[in-house]
Amino acid sequence: MKFYILKRLLYLIPIMIGITFLSFLLLYLAPGDPAQRKLTAQTAVTSDVLEQTREEMGLNRPFLVQYKDWFLNMLQGDLGVSYKDGSPVIVKLTKGMKYTGILAFSSFLLSVVISIPLGIYAAVKKDKLPDSIIKVFCFAGNSLANFLVAVALIYFFCIQTNLFPIIAKGNAQGLFLPTLSLSIPFMSRLITQTRAAVLEQLEQPYVAAARARGMKEIYILFKNVLHNSMISITTVLGLAIGTLLGGSVVTERIFMWPGIGKLVMDSIQARDYPVIQGFVMIMTGIYIIVNLLVDISYHFLDPRVKE
């Protein structure tokens, strides 16, 4: 297992080089001039001023020189400074990741706590009223646009019932609505997946045998069925962690949550290449590590799964 983990971690190096090079190339080839975006955010400027700014920002250097410099600095922990406001990229990303991490963790926790029991319950009550209600919720949660869900939550919880303030100033109250908004689509997927996995297991002969031996239903469900369903549920959870940590632009914008999703969207619009590059690098690392953890968890959930 140690050798396997080490091997997977070593894969990180070529993947990281490949992805950062590709994203650097795509940004270089994409239309749009960071100097122009910086200077002409509100008004026009002369070509002399533009040229001087390009020179100062190092944009006139050949592509490979730019990438080499960025990569060498990155190895020393220096991701450069933002083209937009001159602040260090690492500071901006760390701040964004902190807020996104909090939101991702709370959304993940809420989703797991609610979805797995509900998925099991829906499977147990297959084709009965509770199952139908849960299916309608999942259908709606998967279909409704994130924007609509977020505004509807504000309307209901803040305006109609006055339970929460819209301006929450970063406290625990402020976390509830973005968490709920982000969790609803994730919960819908997780409930559907859990229900399907549990239903598949419930049809297995070992369940009938266990029932025949007189084992309690709850014991069969949580000890056997859930355990055997965990591989497919873990896959969904792994994918969700990556997605949640990538930030949600819509949720973050509507709830004024200063996370990474909004930061990256603003950076793309401003052609703030250093921030985009830093984000790509961090997300690559997160996805690789999460995938590795999911793969390792398969081995523990089902020892028949080989390295």
Binding site: V45, V49, S82, I166, I167, K262
Partner: protein, 511 residues
């Protein structure tokens, strides 16, 4: 089994309700502690945020001005005229400007504003901001504590307009440090708390040099999504916000006893460039006779006001005329040029359908404008093909590869027409990419560059713009409106100023 599941369900519901219950209690507590009648704290939402408070960097001076923290030597009033703020009076002889600072002008720490500090600020802004580098090339002379001279290389009549730019704010450079989170400046408010990229709270400058400050403070919340601002306004969590969308304005208008709305034509212009290298005089004129700005204004639902020229008609330099929409005259022009209407309803000549390429980008409602123009041109028999570009400056503005190029920019950045004219109409100007070249206009532009008399400048500007209109080099569509929503009782938030960078001031009040 059923009982257990029921129990679990009840526990879960109880948990949720207890969480909600806690939230409700805390909200009441907040309301009780902050809403005291004696304290006047204005709550504002803004669609932008800044990372530090340095007004000299990029466009950040716009925001420190909005927050009521900084002031420049001059400012632009509602009629787009330059008026003194920190400056008392000005004299000019050729390229030598003598500026006197008001005796009372002082920073929030009580230190008087001196000539030496003003000069250091101008030089610093010139070093930090690529758009003001020329301030490092001027020579300065301190006459006394309150008087100084600026010597420009050549006569520069719009110097006072430049000095009114919020980026040239005067701050106490010795006491403001790196301006990351604190700032000592001359505005009616001082920073109380500042979260980079987020909320800023300001409080009354107790030592404000120019009279009483009505408010005790203000809180600016960063709300990038306009729908959130509207909901927060309806929920009573903010008192005012700008950049109100047309839909939000309609919603708020329904409760006139609770909200006030103020709409003024601002300085951001939607216009199109007609490529003279590709389109004949008649075709360009036909296009201008067809494009109906009033229709576009109606469709955009109050977010813009149709315009004749690039500047507000309230400004002295906004007095130009253009032909009204006349589809029949447009068709006649095309027919006189030899175009014949084909069975598909399009004009053609030598077997070629009259087709124009409309280049645009999807921002500032230009995508909607492009689609509307396509419809309008189809009505007279011109086929318009739309080309969407992500970055106009790097594509069609740079290459000139378009027949009609749509663009949006601030036309009046500091109460003077020269900036827009020099950017769009002068030879080799960055936005003169449609081949406009007129000797008379160029001569007038050169005259405008050095003309010091304000009235004469307006007259010259009107003549230059009129030439561009008459030559059908451009089509000026609409000016964006600046709509401010305020709770009843809130007043003086510069809601009538067409400039985006003025908001909080000493007179701002709430009942």
């Amino acid at each position: 089994m059923k009982k257990r599941i029921l129990l679990l369900g009840l526990l879960f519901v109880a948990g949720i309700f207890s969480l909600i219950g806690c939230g409700g209690k805390e909200k009441v507590k907040i309301a009780e502690t902050t809403e005291t009648p004696e304290t006047k704290i204005l709550k504002v939402s803004e669609a932008f945020s800044i990372e530090n408070l340095n007004p000299h960097q990029d466009y950040q001076g716009w925001y420190t001005s909005i927050y009521g923290l900084t002031q420049s030597l001059f400012q632009i009033n509602e009629q787009s005229a330059v008026v003194p703020v920190l400056a008392e009076n000005t004299e000019v002889e050729g390229n030598v400007w003598t500026i006197t600072i008001k005796e009372a002008a002082s920073f929030s720490n009580g230190t008087p504003v001196t000539s030496e500090m003003v000069i250091r600020n101008l030089q610093k802004a010139g070093t930090m901001n690529a758009r003001f580098t020329y301030f490092t090339k001027y020579t300065y002379e301190v006459v006394d504590d309150k008087t100084f001279k600026i010597v420009t290389g050549e006569p520069y009549p719009t110097l006072l307009n430049d000095l009114a730019s919020p980026e040239l704010a005067i701050v106490d450079l010795d006491e403001s440090g790196d301006m990351a989170t604190q700032l000592v400046a001359t505005g009616p408010f001082v920073v109380s708390t500042f979260e980079p990229g987020g909320t800023i709270t300001v409080e009354k400058n107790q030592q404000y040099w120019d009279g009483a400050v009505q408010l005790d403070g203000a809180e600016f919340y960063y709300m990038p999504e306009s729908s959130t601002s509207l909901l927060a306004m309806q929920n009573g969590e903010i008192d005012t916000y700008t950049s109100v969308t047309a839909d939000a304005a309609k919603t708020l208008e329904q409760e006139q006893d609770r909200y006030q709305l103020s709409t003024v034509s601002a300085t951001r212009l939607q216009f199109y460039i007609l490529n003279q290298n590709r389109l004949s005089d008649s075709v360009r004129k036909a296009i201008n006779l067809t494009v109906d700005s009033s229709d576009i204004e109606k469709y955009l639902n109050g977010s813009v006001s149709a315009t004749v020229g690039p500047f507000s008609s309230k400004a002295a330099y906004g007095q130009v005329t253009k032909d009204s929409v006349d589809i029949n005259a447009a068709k006649l022009l095309l027919e006189e040029e030899g175009y014949i209407l084909n069975s598909s309803g399009y004009y053609e000549k030598d077997g070629q359908v009259l087709t124009v390429n409309v280049a645009y980008y999807a921002a500032r409602s230009l995508d909607t404008v492009a689609a509307l123009m396509q419809e309008q041109l189809k009505e007279i028999g011109i086929k318009a093909e739309l080309t969407l570009e992500e970055d106009p400056d790097a594509t069609y503005i740079q290459t000139g590869d378009f027949d009609i190029g749509l663009y949006c920019m601030i036309a009046d950045k500091a109460g003077d027409p020269y900036y827009f004219i020099s950017c769009t109409l002068a030879q080799d100007a960055p936005y003169n990419c449609g081949g406009f070249s007129n000797q008379e206009a160029q001569h007038l532009i050169e005259e405008l560059q050095y003309e010091a008399d304000v009235e004469k400048r307006a007259e010259l500007a009107n003549q230059i713009i009129q030439i561009a209109i008459d030559e059908n080099a451009f089509g000026y569509i609409a000016l964006f409106n600046k709509t401010t929503a305020m709770v009843t009782g809130v007043s003086n938030v510069n809601e009538n100023s067409p400039f985006d960078f003025y908001f909080l001031n000493a007179e701002t009040n709430m009942e």
